[in-house]
Amino acid sequence: MNNSKRTEHYTGNVAVMAAGILTSAFGLLAMIGWILHLPMIASFSVDYIPMAPSTALFFILIGTALALRSRLPHNRGTYFASLSIGLLVAVPGTIFFISSLGQKYMPIEKLGFSITETLNGIPIGHMSPVTAVGFAACALVFLLTLSKTIERSRRAWITLVLALILVLTWLLFLFAYLLQTPMMYSGDVIPPALPTSLAFLFLAVGLLISAVVQSGHYIKIKSASGKKEVPYVFLLIFIFLTAGILTGGYLAFQGFEKNFREEVEEQLSAVSELKVTQLSRWRKERLGDANIFYKNYSFSELVKRYSKNPLDADAKKRIQTWIKQVAESYNYNRICLHNMAGTELISFPQKHIHATDLFSDLSAKVKETGKVEFQDFYIDEDDKKVYISVFLPILDEYDNKNPIGVAILRIDPYEYLYPLIEKWPIPSKTAETLIIRRDGNQVLFLNNIRFKKNAALNLRIPLTNESLPAVKAISGKTGIVEGIDYRGVPVIAAVRAVPDSPWFIVARMDLDEIYEPLSERFWMIIIFVGTLIIGTGWGVFLVWRQENNRFYREQYKSAEALKLNKRMLNEAERLGKVGGWEFDIDTKELIWSEEVCRIHEVDVNFQPTIEKGINFYAPASRPVIERAVQRSIVQSEPFDVELEIITAKNNLRWVHAIGNVDQERRKVFGFFQDITERKQAEDKALESQDELKKALEISNQSRQTLLSVLEDHQIVEKEIQKLNKELEQRVIDRTAQLEASNKELEAFSYSVSHDLRAPLRHINGYVDMLNKKYYETFDEKARYYLDTITDSSKRMGILIDDLLQFSRTGRKELSNSEIDLNVLIREVLKELEHIIVERKIKWDIQDLPQVFGDYALLKLVWTNLIDNAIKYTRNQTSAKISIKFKIEAKNYIFCIQDNGTGFDMKYAHKLFGVFQRLHSQAEFEGTGIGLANVQRIINKHAGKVWAEAKLNKGASFYFTLPIKTE
């Protein structure tokens, strides 16, 4: 029982053991790490927290306990060992949890290792509260799975669900580690370490399998009642696990995505802020540049001089030097000086450019306000290039009012500004910074962008396109926005206005690029989740298949047992000639067992009905059975009758029919026995006795009389039974008498054997002593007398022995066996060898058949007959003895023929009598008992013996034996 159970749970147990070993291996690994001062072994990465020494110890304990428990037999010793280990883990686990809630850490947890490091302010070497709760829960499940079977379903389910929750929780922690976004690393609470999560996952899986195996056992008990619930439970477990794995994967991925998004957003914000700062500074610098000319008295005076006298070469030269120096050192594309009329006086590089409306507008404004103004990005009509210009009035040196001219500092944005804006701190495929401004109801893109040529000052998008991050920026949003960019591609962007300017900065990146690494992670998780689900499915399938196999194996076993039972019952029915039957009162359906069919001599597939069944009864028996069945159905009376049936093959049979009523099931059922043999035996007993015959006649007469007088058969039956009983008693009495006389005979022959031989021996002894001691004193005659006495007494001894043999033959029971007559005759001839060797006999012995009979007695027959043949041929010069047989009317006829003295057929009738002899003692010695014995033995074997002979012409002795197989 124990053994078979262990093999049944083999797969489950191996898995549990493996889980236990892995769990303790992780604990051991961490412990080794602490011992070797290599906490890396306990953490797997410098960024992560290591497993606490106390945690490692607990893993070693509970893992080893789980592994051992799966291998050891269930007994009290294992039970208490497991119980104590479970408590040893559960109790401190709970204490550690409570203490760490208050962020009080016990130094005992470090197990004597000197650990003082911290990780991001979190103390190392202490157990995480999550780990502590995990230990308490695992220990609880461990204790719940302790008992051999869980009787109550609720407890089984609690265990199962708890184990499932454990598996899923630790799966989640593991996922988080796997995505490099470990959980709880940002709070004050100590997070569980990576090896801790791994070890817990294995431990929880091991416990889950334990719980499944147990609940499987419980469910199996339930399913024994016919309902097959096993697959549902396993399906449920699989669904739970799958859902858990999926949720874990999803949550972990979401966490990762969130983290990643935050990182990207931070990056974008940083970039946009940086750009805004840079642009502001740039603008300020440009204004600073302008100050070189603005309110510069020496420059103003030069301009004044020059504008008064355009031929003042010195002034012109000096102005040119100024302009050139500023343009070259501050990277201005062009600097020109206009007079109040708007005519260009001097420029660097020297090239005449037509003043445009735009110029005159701004010039006018500058002249009017007397302040420096920016001309935002514009396209120069002359060379169709994009520029930015700074306009500044050249003020009168005395009152700083009344401008005398306008200086225009033109900037080529391609030289510095665009590269500055477009510069991205890290390489990116899609990231870029846009600078925009509002232009009427449109967004105007000011710089050249990555994915559209000539966009600067050309690309305009209406403000109605609200999903555009640029539009969002213009409409006042600051910070991170998500939207569709100018290409129609979803992007994430950081938008910000550049202070003191009409500009907005949009630092944007395609969502695709952001999600590229994310999708890598996504596929990684999908593969991991897929593998886990397949693994879980496979594991659950294995356990299910095993449980299923066991279910079917048990069904098969019980089916086999049922088959065997049926076979045995059938065999028992066949041997006992007893069959069963059942009749449904409502459906009228009748069922016969095979033996009942055999008794009726119908095919075993015979479909009986109550009418068909009754029709098998002999006419005299039919009303009896009809009434019996009727009463049993209507009045629920049982019946027990012995009746005659006529079988399908027209054989008359006596049957014993017993019927009972099962009221609850509304069935009449019973047994049916073939008692023909018993009846025949009873008949035979009747026949063997004259009295019985007479009694039968009387009973027949009385039966007929009674039949005519009384209709009730039962009275007749009773009478007959009573008479039969009397007769049976008489048979018993007679048998007892016979036995008594047989015993007397036995006692008689015993005393003959004992007492009759003693005096003979005495006679012989004393004569011998006489002969020995007084031989000399006797004369010839006396010696002759003494010899005669000796001979006579010896002969009498032989006579007594033969007679006893003869009497024993009569009394002896036959012990029948199959006999090879050839072997028997060889043995007889061997025993007679001492006589045969002195003679010359021609033997003619046919190959004889196998017969059935008593070996010793048949051997005596052949010994007597062969001995006789040898004896009575001794006067023949050429003796011939032949042994033959033939078959006639189911009998073997054996014949032993000799060519000896023979006898006169006149005396043939005396031949087989006791002490009857046809020859004188002097001629042929003998006791006259041999042939009497032969006849007795052959008669006992249901055969006949006779002889044919003629005087001096030899004799033939015949005897028959029936051909029987058994």
Binding site: Y750, N764, M769, D801
Partner: protein, 146 residues
């Protein structure tokens, strides 16, 4: 020369006793024969009871036992001996006229050492008794008693 040991002969018929002693005397074995006339005497002899209370200590080398005896027959004697802790190793030879199968069977079931049917011929009888006497009284070794 081997020491002659006692032979206990239980036989009720005086003629048989005489003939047996005669047979044993032809081999000088007769002097060591103790004759008892039935089973009761035989048991008393063996158990130092009654008449044999003060007989010298020692078991006979062999008990020659007739079956048909008054009071207690040979088979009963054999049964008593075999169920007696002190006597059960005693060699017992049935010396009887009966060759009845039930007797033979019963004696062997009870653990007889030999079963000899007395032959009618005196010469054969002498031969048989001689062999029994020589074998049991001279040759056979018994385990020493504590």
């Amino acid at each position: 020369m081997m020491a002659l040991r006692t032979i206990l002969l239980a036989e009720d018929n005086p003629q048989d006793v005489e003939l047996t002693l005669e047979a044993l005397s032809t081999h000088n074995l007769a002097n060591n024969v103790i004759v008892v006339k039935d089973g009761v005497d035989a048991m008393e002899y063996l158990r130092y009871e009654g008449e044999y209370k003060s007989r010298p200590k020692g078991d006979p080398a062999v008990l020659l036992l007739d079956i048909k005896m008054p009071r207690m027959d040979g088979i009963e004697v054999l049964h008593s001996i075999r169920s007696d802790e002190k006597l059960k190793t005693l060699p017992v030879v049935m010396l009887t006229s009966s060759r009845e199968e039930p007797d033979l069977k019963k004696c062997y079931e009870l653990g007889v050492n030999a079963y000899v049917v007395k032959p009618v011929s005196f010469n054969d009888f002498i031969d048989a008794v001689k062999q029994i006497g020589v074998f049991w009284a001279l040759l056979n070794e018994l385990p020493t008693k504590e």
